[in-house]
Amino acid sequence: MSARAIAILLLVFVAACPVLAQETSRLIVLTHDSFAMTEEVLAAFEADSGVSVEILRSGDAGQMVNQAILSKNNPLGDLLYGVDNTFLSRALAAEIFAPYESPALKFVGEGFLPDESFRVTPINFGDVCLNYDIAFFEENELELPGSLSDLTKAEYRGLLVAENPATSSPGLAFLLATIAAFGADGEYTYLDYWQDLDENDLLVVDGWTDAYYGEFMVTGRDSGTRPMVVSYASSPPAEVYYSEDPDAGAITGAIVGDNMCFRQVEYVGILAGAANEEAARQFVDFMLSPAFQEDLPLNMFVFPVREDVMLPAVFAEHAMIPENPALVKPAEIEANREDWIQAWMEVMLR
């Protein structure tokens, strides 16, 4: 009988006791939970470099950055990939990165570099833009809005669903686009604009999924009532790619007019105090290599920062890249993010 009790005890111990950390030579990449890449592409890197790579996803982008800052004295991994320009300043200010200038940066446009310090390396970007239901606009013979201001006009009344900037990353990006367009001071600020949007029957929901699948109307699909949504410029090709009949063509479109979109750039940085800095550098180079850059679009529906790599057919055909996205500097975002969102909440949620 007591043997059984001891067995129970042992099992409790086994369940409660930690595994001892193993010492092997490996590279740990911290990333957010939307990370995806093709297995063979990574396997090829591992075979070439002799480094075994472990991917550690740690929540959404905000959670990931916060964790990296909290653990900076004893970093969780060697690299942090997926910090974007809306969170970048927080990470830079906390000094969690060790600088590295990759030779492959020569293939990347200068506009993507946040500063001269090379603490982070740009990898990919995506634009947050309005998406619309093509059939609805055709049937109602409605023109597409040519600027953000147009959205307050009567003909677009009740057509738009957007995300809460406090809880959603595209929501924050769109808020920043309105701040770039209307400013935070002056006669007519972004808050006045949002108030006008609200009076034009704007719907705000908390997350992208809820907005896109719950509220966005796509003709022929049985959900949603609003033919315009704040989403990504890459959503229309994604719609085509994942649709049951990819040859039928696009059913949604993105509006990429000047200053109507906000560009999110994602960076990778080597964590200061990384256990395997040499391998981390190799991985940064690899992320800028054509193999990884070409693999990005269909895995995460973002665009590679290198312009010289091939885009998949569905992107080349259906994706639109805004020529002049709205710009707000990372430092300015970090300094004002809380105030901007708080002010937005006070206007929109009361």
Partner: protein
């Protein structure tokens, strides 16, 4: 020899405390330390800001208000049903009771999907109503309303209240009631003078538990309620993640934990009154005979069907109906690894991961919970504090605790922050209170004389535990096991935390599919949600069977 045995027992008794200390208190203290003493000295300005702002006071008031409302509605619906379940025997009762627990396990993403497919503007119900009555507009406009939050909370917590009250009522028996009936009492006075006063301790206990769950609700509020409704828990997440305002998040967490500690103490003191008398739990349920009895029973089953199963049914229908045609393609695609993408395993593999974690978490929580129940039952001065203490993991924001793990468990031999073990550990932490709550009543019902008699007859404590007490605790342990299992199956936050290949669970797959663009992956996520429901339902049925085969209804 005696002495070594004694030391062994003390070591055993310390296990749950060590577990709680290591994986709850220590990480929490670490994160509070970092948040409130950023410059090496205590900085309480966050509290000042908290207490001097109408905004945060408003958040607190709203949190209390919606929790109270959810509790009232849940009790109003669950009390009559509990009576019917305790009083009457009918076919499929056990199955119905198990299935009623199903909503409790489902991740909020799934529940939000289910409610949207049923009650949304373009949901099934609106479709039905507009076709039947040729209305021009959709009559049901619940989206992003307080009503939607309350409905979802009732949906989640109904089974908890039902189980607590049914088991108490069954153990009370109906002798008093029958005596009163003989003396000529009518239905109304039976409810007023006999049933409600008798069930009150269980009602209070269940009510407090529902209140506690609704108070800390996060996903439901965020997804179904929309932006105007911020509870403390939502605010903590927002301050910690979006604002990285850790001092304020810590201050809010402390407010939440202290209010919870207070409510847990209330709750555990009400629980003590729920002592079951062992002998009266003999078969008290009877078959419904009169028309009225049958009517009550049907009403109760109908209520549960509408409240608990119609959203789930809507989800199932949406996952297999494509433009009005039956189509199982979504399910077929789940077994293949459709994308060559790293970390995107065939969804079917996630089921095995989920089952593995759920079993480890269940086993850990059962062992620790059993020991902890014995500790609490000893009734020292300590036990009054221990009981609410073990409940606290329920009241702690997952994000706060997660950040605590990152900075506390970061060095060997406790370098757990990137290990999959953190998943079953955190599941066990949350499941522990459920096991204790299920075991304690049965434990308190064992008369001390039984143990004493066994000892007089020469049984060692371990023999008396294994041959007498454990079988008597069987029912409580089985219920605890169900809860532990389901909590783990549906848990989401911790599972997302360390996402390696071997740790991708069903809720994580659903979440990822939902985040992928394209309508096909949306429909796949519906199929996956249905699978999660089936796996959980299967788990319930198996555990219920084991219970009946192994222990019987004693």
């Amino acid at each position: 020899m005696m002495r070594r045995a004694r030391e062994l027992w003390i070591a055993v008794f310390l296990l749950p405390l060590a577990f709680l200390g290591l994986f709850y208190v220590y990480p929490l203290l670490s994160i509070f330390d970092v948040s409130l003493r950023p410059a090496g000295f205590l900085d309480l300005s966050a509290f000042v800001r908290l207490l001097s702002s109408d905004y945060y006071i408003g958040t607190l008031l709203f949190t209390v208000y919606q929790a109270a409302l959810s509790t009232a509605v849940t009790l109003l619906l669950a009390t009559p049903c509990a009576f019917v379940f305790a009083r009457y025997q009918f076919r499929g009762k056990t199955l119905l009771l198990s299935l009623a627990t199903l909503p409790f396990v489902l991740p909020t993403v799934v529940v939000a999907l289910a409610f949207a497919t049923l009650l949304g503007v373009n949901g099934l119900l609106n479709d039905l109503l507009t076709t039947m009555s040729s209305l021009e507009y959709q009559p049901i406009q619940l989206e992003r309303s307080l009503a939607m939050i309350i409905i979802a909370h009732v949906f989640y917590n109904f089974a908890v209240a039902l189980r607590i009250m049914t088991s108490y009522w069954s153990s009370l028996g109906f002798r008093v009631e029958e005596a009163a009936r003989c003396l000529g009492a009518d239905e109304l006075s039976l409810w007023r003078d006999i049933r409600l006063p008798l069930i009150r301790p269980a009602m209070l206990s269940a009510g407090l538990l529902v209140f506690i769950f609704s108070f800390t609700s996060f996903g439901v509020i965020l997804i179904l309620g929309g932006i105007r409704f911020a509870t403390l828990e939502v605010q903590i997440y927002y301050q910690a993640v979006n604002m990285f305002n850790l001092p304020l998040a810590a201050a809010l967490s402390l407010v939440q934990i202290l209010s919870m500690l207070f409510m847990m103490m209330l709750y555990t003191s009400t629980q003590k009154r729920l002592q079951l008398a062992l002998d009266s739990s003999a078969a008290v349920a009877k078959r419904p005979r009169t028309l009225l009895e049958r009517l009550c029973l049907s009403l109760c089953v109908a209520l549960m069907a509408i409240l608990l199963f119609s959203p789930l049914l809507a989800l199932v229908l949406r996952s297999i109906l494509v433009a009005g045609q039956l189509d199982f393609a979504n399910f077929a695609s789940l077994v293949e690894k459709s994308r060559g993408s790293l970390l995107f395993i065939a969804p079917i593999e996630a089921i095995f991961n989920s089952l593995r974690f759920a079993l480890i978490a269940m086993f850990t929580a059962l062992c620790l919970g059993l020991i902890a129940s014995y500790m609490i039952e000893r009734r020292g001065r300590l036990s009054r504090l221990l009981d609410p203490l073990f409940m606290l993991p329920l009241a702690t924001s997952a994000v706060t605790l997660g950040f605590g793990f990152i900075i506390a468990l970061d060095e060997p031999p406790l370098n757990l922050r990137a290990s999959w073990l953190i998943i079953p550990i955190s599941h066990a932490l949350v499941a522990l209170p459920f096991v204790i709550r299920s075991v304690l009543p049965s434990l308190r019902a064992i008369p001390p004389s039984l143990r004493e008699a066994a000892q007089t007859l020469g049984a060692k404590p371990i023999d008396s535990l294994l041959t007498i007490e454990l079988p008597l605790l069987g029912r409580g342990l089985a219920v605890g096991a169900i809860f532990a299992f389901t909590v783990s199956m549906g848990e989401f936050g911790a599972s997302l935390f360390v996402a390696q290949r071997e740790s991708v669970t069903i809720p994580v797959v659903i979440y990822r599919l939902l985040g992928d663009p394209g309508f096909a992956s949306y429909r796949q996520s519906l199929a996956m949600s249905v699978l999660l429901m089936l796996v959980c339902a299967g788990g319930f049925v198996i555990i219920e069977r084991l219970r009946i085969a192994g222990v019987g209804e004693f």
